[in-house]
Subunit: 291 residues, 2 copies
């Protein structure tokens, strides 16, 4: 595995790979890698000839009161994990390398952002889209891998790719969970032991909500159940629970073939998110499943 820190090196090595007719798979991350990331790398490794992983904690996607400075970092462990997963090229740029000056241009995201995390994280997806446009141009990947845990991010990126005609295919991968159902996240380390125990309730509640939705229960009743569960069973505060069409993220859940049930809970030092994406038309037959 090659580890590089400059854009020029990435361009050179990916150009070599392309010239050899290799397909390039790309996993953009903010580091502090866990099994969720590992599953993305594994799939990229299976599907592509040359696998690139980037580790970059992107300041543009953090709000002024968010956790950019204290976002967890462990470069050494990240390198070992990427190496284990058979990654070919690990790109770890500095902020100065990615943003050598105040940028003259940014991407503005107009759709799929006024719901879920976008409501409280104003400008967050502009920052995500901006750094991804840069990374797509630098890496020139054929396929890019995202986890469905960040389902809104994946929906926004799908729109970005389509509307900017970016020559890359998005592969959406299933959320990887702890044994008790808690979605893997770099931010789980911030949980106290008590909060960690309570946190499994996010997945349990989502599963229950999806079952009720399948049974034809209305969205308001389900939302009230979720709110009561989080209030009564955890020390956290419900930031949102929403049922929307996916990937359009419209209130009209008949807008797409799929529906997302998504939740965010603020604990003392960590805000956790989770979701289930279920097929609308086959709900009854297939039951709940991730896509």
């Amino acid at each position: 595995m090659n580890i590089v820190t400059t854009i020029a090196e990435v361009k050179q090595r990916t150009e070599e790979a392309r010239n050899q007719g290799k397909t390039i798979g790309f996993v953009p991350t903010m580091g502090f890698l866990h099994e969720g990331h590992a599953s993305l790398m594994k799939r990229a490794r299976q599907e592509c000839d040359f696998v690139v992983v980037s580790i970059f904690v992107n300041p543009l996607q953090f709000g002024p009161n968010e956790d950019f400075e204290r976002y967890p970092r462990d470069e050494q462990r990240d390198r070992a994990l990427a190496q284990d997963m058979g990654v070919d090229l690990l790109f770890c740029p500095t902020v100065e390398e990615m943003y050598p000056r105040a940028s003259s241009v940014t991407v503005n995201v107009h759709k799929r952002v006024d719901v879920l995390c976008g409501k409280s994280r104003v400008g967050h997806f502009d920052g995500v889209a901006t750094v991804l446009v840069k990374l797509f141009n630098i890496v020139g990947a054929h396929r890019v891998y995202f986890g469905s845990k960040d389902a809104q991010q994946a929906a926004v990126v799908q729109g970005l790719i389509e509307d900017f005609n970016i020559p890359v295919t998005l592969a959406l991968c299933e959320t990887v969970r702890e044994q008790d159902g808690l979605a893997k996240s770099s931010r789980n380390v911030y949980l106290s032991q008590q909060e960690r125990d309570q946190a499994s309730l996010l997945y349990a509640t989502l599963t229950q909500a999806a079952t009720r939705l399948q049974a034809g229960e209305n969205v308001q009743t389900i939302a009230a159940m979720v709110e009561a569960e989080i209030r009564n069973q955890t020390s956290g505060t419900l930031d949102y629970f929403e049922i929307l069409s996916y990937p359009s993220l419209e209130q009209n859940i008949n807008h797409d073939e799929r529906v997302i049930l998504a939740i965010a809970v603020q604990f003392s030092k960590a805000r956790l998110i989770d979701n289930l994406i279920v097929s609308r038309q086959d709900q009854k037959e297939e039951g709940i499943h991730h896509v």
Copy 2:
């Protein structure tokens, strides 16, 4: 020359060319081609193996009170000219092909836009940058050609390419002029005979202004001279005359190696722009010259 109207066809043909190891030159236009465009195609033809020209009147870069609907179009003549210039692929998409739905993302341009044309054309360069990001992704060109008549556009695009890491090189080409100095423009057809006669004064005045700048005269005095010239010698209205650093477009003209003297004059049915870009350090030695 192949003429195509769909994004899929452009991608297919440019991919073929890339796979054959050809360098791709790209000239994005809004059509109604004149000798200015021809000079861009000629240079692309000289420097690249495969030349792509796009003709697309981009609604996103026109303001609500601008001339999108009545922007001049002559597809047949454009095709003949592109054919004559040895263009390989002419891309003439419809608005629906480029924007099949309201876009979820646009590019926001923050720098180099609050001066010159950007002052009165709010959002114009956002529209330019957005369509260019799309076209760059569709065409995958190695080199893109712009005329220095639209100097602010070229400066904005240079920033876009650098800050988004777009893998394309911008080639800036000299403004092509009529015999009396009037810069070639698709909008010149809107001039009355009297206005057409007066319009040569833009270039003459710019030349005079550059000479005075070289001689050490201060910017305010030069601006007053230009204003008086346009007021007294034409029926048009001076929209702006500015002397700025280039390509940063800063008021401090010592910011870059080059300086731009730029003018815009509103005639009854056409707003004309022109500029001179002169080298700052070599002014005395080389005199006025385009870059």
